[in-house]
Symmetry: C2
Subunit: 252 residues, 2 copies
DNA sequence: TGCGCCGACTGGTCTGACCAGTGGACTAGG
DNA sequence: CCTAGTCCACTGGTCAGACCAGTCGGCGCA
């Protein structure tokens, strides 16, 4: 090795950090499963042989990681949560706010991501899954008559299904997370747009075309339509100067 | 509205949570910028008019979100960190461990993601960026003679450049995060593989082909080669049963 | 000028206390 | 017997004050 020994900066391990590790390891090993309860804070004090402040600092870390949730007064201890994308979403939302991630980058990410997922899905889909997609279209149609929130939920179900068909739960999670952040930024504007209903109908139409293309096994076409749809749906909310960048993503 | 009023569960806002919000808002507004220091804990106690325990619980949350870092003995207060993907990576790593995300899903995600980024990049790249890519290839060649870690770093630079050319920092972050998690799982195995050097050479060769295809403006070919490369590079580390799923991702 | 000591800080941890909630057990009243 | 109300043990959230081991800047000594 030409570089010589690689020393890393040494830093003390905090007690609360070791508690966090122990809990997360227990979760990874399966000794702890979602729905179970952690002992109460005072009980943890005894088990870990540290002070309550230390236990609580560890719990705050676990809580912000989406691992547990504490509820005051609950006779059972903190609850072990099932994995949810909320912690990831928080990170991405922070990225968007603090790191100047623009709306057009978020949308561009979705266009790329969703297009790729649809392309993969159009090859892997089983006949049953095709039926499921059709069913989702019907649900979307019905939801239009309710309100935007309902339509949005049906749309989410569609994309979740696509991600599931692509056999990759990370895609599903990513899609869900970024979609959540995007909607958080502009859902109100869409919901109150005067042509909201027309937008929903057009989106539904595009979705149907996507499903047709998937049925035909034409992944390229399906992905292209999906990207076009997302562009039409969202592009109005990004500055004109950035619209061109997004438009460039439509064709592959 | 046909659904009636939608009540949301009301839950008390904790003091430490409001401190977290205040700090993150200040960051979002730009009142706080990376590199700056927060006041010391005892000073924050005075400013927020809460106890030190509360301040510390808030700091633990901020710390686990990658917003600040505390160092004992530091005469300056906690440091405001620039955004880094470390917090995101922690989430994805947890997802991988706890939520049974498989290695093949992580690799599949990268194949899809990176392929899409390369496809976009091959259209958007400027001549200068093409030169930068060539330069990265040279760096990779040199790094092979050093060790695997160096090669890995040069490879990271290549992918960062691709992501940057695709004009989307979220892609870059995602790529970096998932790449980090994958390497964390199998870097040792690759580094100590007997044919490690041959693998690196082959990978370099593929990268060169990708650059050629990008220069030619053939996004499809570039993406396909990149996916193939990633498959060759990593597939040996996933169970046979899952290799087929990955192989299906190579062609588009 | 250079070096080492010192002291004023830092964050990490601990102790012990109080409070407002929660929910189970217990009890009085139907 | 069952219900409704009370009570109480316990929860997590917060507080005040203390000690410790580090860190680092400045002062004074060689």
């Amino acid at each position: 090795m030409t570089k010589g020994p690689q020393f890393e900066p040494v830093q003390p391990v905090r007690a609360y950090q070791r508690i966090v590790e122990q809990v997360e390891d227990a979760l990874a090993r399966g000794d702890l499963t979602p729905g179970q309860r952690l002992p109460s804070e005072r009980e943890l004090v005894a088990q870990f042989a540290v002070s309550r402040s230390t236990v609580r600092e560890a719990l705050r870390v676990l809580e912000s990681n989406g691992v547990v949730r504490s509820r005051p007064g609950d006779p059972n201890g903190p609850e072990i949560l099932p994995y949810s994308s909320s912690a990831l979403r928080k990170q991405v939302a922070r990225l968007a706010r603090v790191d100047q991630l623009t709306l057009s980058e978020l949308i561009g990410f979705r266009m790329i991501m969703d297009g790729a997922a649809i392309q993969v899905a159009s090859r892997l889909r089983t006949p049953e899954e095709l039926d499921d997609l059709e069913a989702t279209l019907v649900a979307m149609r019905d939801a239009i008559d309710v309100d935007f929130a309902a339509f949005s939920e049906a749309d989410l179900a569609f994309h979740e299904l696509i991600a599931r068909i692509s056999r990759n739960s990370l895609i599903q999670t990513c899609n869900e997370v970024v979609r959540g952040v995007v909607l958080g930024l502009i859902a109100d504007k869409i919901a109150h747009a005067p042509n909201s209903r027309a937008l929903m109908l057009e989106s539904l139409h595009h979705h149907a075309e996507v499903v047709d293309a998937i049925r035909a096994g034409n992944g390229h076409a399906a992905a292209r339509i999906a990207r076009q749809n997302m562009f039409d749906y969202y592009a109005g909310y990004v500055p004109d100067s950035e619209q061109e960048t997004l438009r460039a993503l439509i064709d592959d």
